[in-house]
Symmetry: C3
């Protein structure tokens, strides 16, 4: 959450420096919080439309926004990874994450308070990046839900309505008792002397290979500014600061905007060039 | 519209039970209504962007949301089906539906008041699920439109501006004279003794087969809790309450979240497994 | 920008005619401006989600909307074309355009004031349609940015925060010094006596071929209402006012809703029928 505090500080400073008055903030004005939706239901999904409609019905003053609905189906680990990257930038809000293969079964629905973010999701680990330090409750108060609750769509009948009520000011303790949530351990890279082995965790729209290797891993391995990266048997010697530092078509590695080691082809697709995909091994050696 | 009233009631009760004050509501505050857009123009369409921009230009206080823009091209019946499912969850709002193969021709543009929802659309049946009990007007007041009106995009030049003015408080009677709208009869299942024959009306992102068969049809046929479902020559004996009630790969049928009989493969795709598609026949027999 | 003024006028008139009070306007109320995002990052992109989150963190009262995120990767000319069509419909707002192949390199980030629209984008020509008559500044005030600035994602760390501060009331002069922006010359059709040669600039969702030929070009060539259009060696003699003026399957040309000559197959795809694509030559002769 460090980044978000950074944002808040920056607002104050920036405004001060420029002689502007600080923008009004809804949390000072007792306004409703915005609601952010994230799911594996697909862009343009009518399931998402129903959640949006329910949220607005119950918290008309809350703007409702989307993070993404393109999480691969039932891919809890992927959704957690997206949250890890995006959450530090969120404003105070209520977040709803619907990646819910166990819907209607025994898994609980939880509501968590993590800094300025309230999050509602199935208790399947999808909220893991937000859970350290968070206060977590099990959603059991049926008076907050739509009735009857469909056993196949808790996103609409439990999570969206609970999120809306939280956004409109409901105290989170009203949702139910304290709860020990399921934590998902996201696979960390192997770090040894002068060697780090991680994997591709995301291929972006541009075909860039985003990995689970961060600067801290290279530091732990004692790897300095000189390093060689290997993906799918292909050595990538060229380290750049940004894509445009090399010519079109060059295979490079760099530190991506979320602090992850990234392999790219300038104005091309590293995924295609290297025939790499999510899960491909990525090795880094000091040189 | 029963469901929406349910939502409103629920808000009041829920808030009461928890000792929270009820959230402010814009319709009590004379605020602008939110606007919901739905079309066959595609996600990310610049045509939709133009409609959104026009709506916000004319009703700056109205939040503008999307239902979906992934309606198959010119598929009025499909759009009506989506409306049937989603409309009960909408808050008080202005809804714009642009599925308009006859744009610029003789079909009228209509504005309908159906409960708390005001809807603007071509008079081609797309609003059918909202029309029973609705008051309908033909949009003829040219002072409400953008000028000149493009003969190929009434969504931007007539529907979005009229919707925005309604959202900002215009009395619906100002749009034009009363109108007898076109009604679309959505195909209902055949119901006979111990037998119901319907069809797949939607294949969702997960490959689940959503049908036009509802509980009421099985009740009319005298089919009780024991039933066998047949799709594309394949018998589906297993009835579950929710997906996670059976193992991965199991072919099941269940009641989906919008009350429709649904055929699914647990964590798989029923559409692929059964080579079924929209329009495929679905038969239910009591056992 | 003529169209936007038209919109404003229309609001006033329309409201007057109907005896409605004019809707509240945020620019009279010193409210925050809405923010519109446009990029080549893809629908459902988490990069866009991060920009949205940053914008809302710094200007909580600004609604954030999307124009499109489906610009083809790094396609500055295409994005400029979309802006040319959509900008006249925008309300007073802050526009952020992230099509940024040169991110982290020497190209500047600019903020431009063009009528009621404030726009923030890389200085690579993408804002060209808004630049004539605009006042342009180079974004250099680091106190307005997120820190540290990622060299690969200025959309999130420079453009979104600067846009948010402008939306919240920051004077545009605070972003940095005046700047002479890069202008992109969008290819114009060749016009000669009784002949215009242009090209397809966009194929829409429906397979309609949208060209860079406008009415003014035909007028310059002395071509009247009788004209013959030729695409990919195929003569299109039939001119219609709107799609539904001809039978299903007919190949027609018409004036599209953004004033561009368009070639269409009624309820079909002209792109498929003619094997035409973006860039295909389009010739018009008077008959």
């Amino acid at each position: 959450m460090g980044r978000r505090e950074g944002l808040a500080l920056r607002t104050a400073e920036g405004a001060g420096l420029c002689g502007e008055k600080a923008p009004q903030r809804w949390w000072e004005e007792e306004m409703s919080l915005p609601i952010f939706l994230m799911s594996d239901l697909g862009e343009g999904s009518i399931y998402v439309a129903a959640m949006r409609a329910v949220a607005l019905s119950l918290s008309p003053q809350s703007p409702v926004y989307d993070i993404t609905h393109s999480i691969p189906r039932h891919d809890i680990a992927y959704a957690a990874l997206v949250l890890e990257d995006v959450a530090p930038y969120l404003p105070p809000c209520v977040l709803v994450v619907v990646v819910d293969p166990g819907v209607g079964g025994e898994r609980a629905v939880i509501a968590a308070k993590s800094g300025d973010v309230l999050a509602v999701a199935p208790d399947n680990g999808v909220l893991s990046p937000l859970l350290p330090g968070a206060t977590v409750f099990r959603v059991e108060n049926e008076s907050l839900m739509l009735r009857p609750v469909s056993p196949t769509f808790h996103g609409r009948d439990i999570m969206a309505p609970v999120a809306a009520r939280l956004a409109a000011g409901l105290n989170i303790q009203e949702v139910g008792p304290r709860h020990q949530p399921t934590m998902l351990v996201l696979p960390e890279p192997d770090v040894s002397d002068n060697f780090v082995k991680g994997r591709v965790v995301h291929v972006d729209t541009f075909g860039n290979l985003v990995t689970n290797i961060k600067r801290v891993h290279l530091e732990s391995a004692g790897i300095g500014t000189e390093a060689s990266v290997c993906v799918c048997g292909r050595q990538i010697g060229r380290h750049v600061r940004t894509y445009s530092d090399a010519r079109k078509g060059t295979l490079v590695w760099l530190w991506g905007s979320f602090g992850r080691l990234e392999v790219a082809v300038v104005e091309g697709s590293a995924a295609e060039r290297l025939k790499a995909a999510r899960g491909s091994a990525v090795e880094v050696r000091g040189t």
